[in-house]
């Protein structure tokens, strides 16, 4: 976290360091079904973030004592590659931060996956951050939603996630690493677009009630774009399959 004293000018003439408007997303690209072994997978590039998400399941729950006879359970691993940041070599394996993100990510999906369809089984979600540039947890959730859908797992909705930050009095959408380091507040949020239910919400910094409301509105507005990229990624997989089928 950078201190405010040495904070660079993050907003000049209404534009951000990378030239974006305050409510502008970084370029987002998603490809579904990229891994052969996984039941479902997605590769996402969001600004300089590069994320690989994969789903295995539903499978028999291991260890057995964790099985729930009334519904499926979800397990989630979010981890950052030791070479993912521009800083020093990272520690391998999940740390406390990654463990918390894994937990809240899992809980977000427990609200949308139709768990009662697979009692006693387990669904594994793996999120690997290959390159990080701010907002990796929301990138992970957005990718994992596509991976779950490509695994054919039934869900109430295809959820997306995005982060809103605050610099001085300005709210900014989808902050990158530099903005994240120096911002006054950071609020990642995951939303089910069908009814705009909030499935995951974190915040740190300082936010007024009014700013919270405006932030959520910004997230929902940006969600139209994110949702479209997610759906297009899935559509593309089936289009390719249909083309292959027709050419045979």
């Amino acid at each position: 976290m950078g201190s405010k004293a040495n904070r660079p000018e993050l907003i000049v003439d209404g534009k951000r360091l990378d030239g974006r408007a305050l409510d502008e997303l970084r370029p987002l690209k998603i490809e579904a079904s990229v891994l052969k072994n996984a039941d479902g997978s997605a590769y996402l590039e969001w600004g300089n973030n590069k994320v690989l998400a994969a789903v295995y399941g539903p499978v028999e729950t291991q260890p057995k004592h964790m099985a729930d006879p009334s519904k499926a359970i979800i397990k989630c691993r979010y981890a950052m590659a030791p070479f993912s940041s521009l800083e020093e070599h990272g520690r391998t394996g999940p740390n406390r931060r990654a463990t918390e993100i894994s937990k809240v990510t899992k809980e977000a999906f427990e609200n949308v996956v139709l768990l009662n369809e697979f009692p006693g089984s387990m669904i594994n979600i793996f999120i690997e951050i290959l390159q990080s540039d701010g907002g990796t947890r929301v990138a992970g959730i957005t990718a994992a939603a596509v991976a779950l859908a490509s695994a054919g797992i039934h869900m109430k909705d295809l959820i997306y996630a995005v982060a809103i930050g605050k610099v001085g009095d300005a709210l900014i959408l989808d902050q990158n690493m530099i903005e994240d380091n120096y911002s006054d507040a950071d609020m990642p949020i995951a939303i089910a677009p069908r009814n705009n239910d909030v499935l995951f919400l974190q915040m740190d910094g300082d936010f007024s009630k009014e700013e919270l409301k405006r932030s959520i509105d910004m997230a929902i507005e940006s969600g139209k774009v994110i949702s479209k990229v997610q759906k297009d990624a899935l559509r593309h997989v089936y289009q390719k399959a249909a083309e292959r089928y027709e050419s045979e």
Partner: protein, 278 residues
């Protein structure tokens, strides 16, 4: 002792004879094909699968490369940090290599601390590159007590056999595309990365699986499930640089000599792949 799957399956739960039914089916299938002289993807015993090397996939890293060897996919990332030399080599930088069999790469991999298979993989890749003196560690010396520490991380993204050769290629390709940060005022300047990492040699490896007396170069997933034993030969084309025999079975001396000849004859082909991805 279960057969074949050394890099594949951490021990888990109870199994009949430590081998599950699906592996027996795969194994029988591979053996039946071999008795007719064919491999499941119609390769010759001395053929690699299709190799694709994509360099510089992770721009935040000092070097990186993704290797697709058939359906096996491995990503290697290199980070270079400022650090201290080893006590016995005060004028040289250090190199550390590790490998992760990510749980998203196979239903048989589990999250958790590195399995013995992951550690073996990292150490075999490391031995080839270290014994081949590929990285010029003297060039990583900065000043008294300060050197560059090079970290190579091998990330297995999809398993379908022969992680050894895919990882050796990925690590080597990543190193060949690595840029060392500038060093100013006692600090690493990662925004200025223009100096290529100095390399003095290129090492490649060739791994063979033995199935019913056939030596198969670059075994795929099913062939590894069927094999009784395995040999990895790392070479720079002139000398052998590392050997690793794995799994329970055995080779006779003549078989070892044949595989060493084959590995050395394959080096140029692999080196060409590496150089075209530079």
């Amino acid at each position: 002792m279960r057969c074949g799957t050394s890099t594949r399956r951490p021990q888990k739960g109870t199994r009949v004879n430590n081998m599950d039914a699906i592996d027996i089916v795969k194994s029988n299938y591979i053996k039946e094909l071999l008795s007719k002289g064919i491999r499941e993807d119609m390769r010759k015993v001395s053929d690699f699968r299709k190799i694709k090397i994509t360099p510089n996939v992770i721009q935040n890293a000092e070097g990186s490369a993704q290797v697709d060897l058939g359906a096996t996919r491995v990503l290697a990332g290199v980070k270079i940090d400022l650090g201290e030399p080893m006590e016995d080599t005060p004028k040289e930088g250090t190199v550390a290599m590790s490998a992760e069999l990510l749980p998203l790469a196979s239903a048989d991999y589990e999250a958790g601390p590195p399995s013995p298979e992951a550690i073996e993989l990292a150490r075999v890749v490391d031995r080839g590159i270290r014994a081949g003196a590929c990285i010029d560690t003297a060039d990583l010396f900065l000043e008294e007590g300060k050197v560059w520490n090079v970290y190579v991380d091998i990330y297995v993204l999809n398993y379908y056999g022969n992680l050894f050769d895919a990882s050796e290629l990925a690590a080597m390709a990543a190193l060949m595309n690595t840029k060392v940060p500038a060093y100013a005022d006692g600090k690493a300047v990662r925004t200025d990365r223009s100096k290529p990492l100095k390399l003095n040699n290129i090492v490649t490896s060739a791994t063979f699986a033995k199935v019913d007396g056939h030596m198969l170069l670059d075994p795929d997933g099913n062939e590894e499930a069927a094999c009784s034993t395995r040999l990895t030969v790392a070479t720079d084309g002139k000398k052998l640089r590392a050997l690793q025999k794995g799994l329970g079975g055995s080779f006779n001396v003549k078989e070892v000599e044949e595989m060493v000849d084959m590995a050395m004859s394959k080096h140029e082909e692999l080196k060409k792949h590496l150089e075209s991805a530079r």
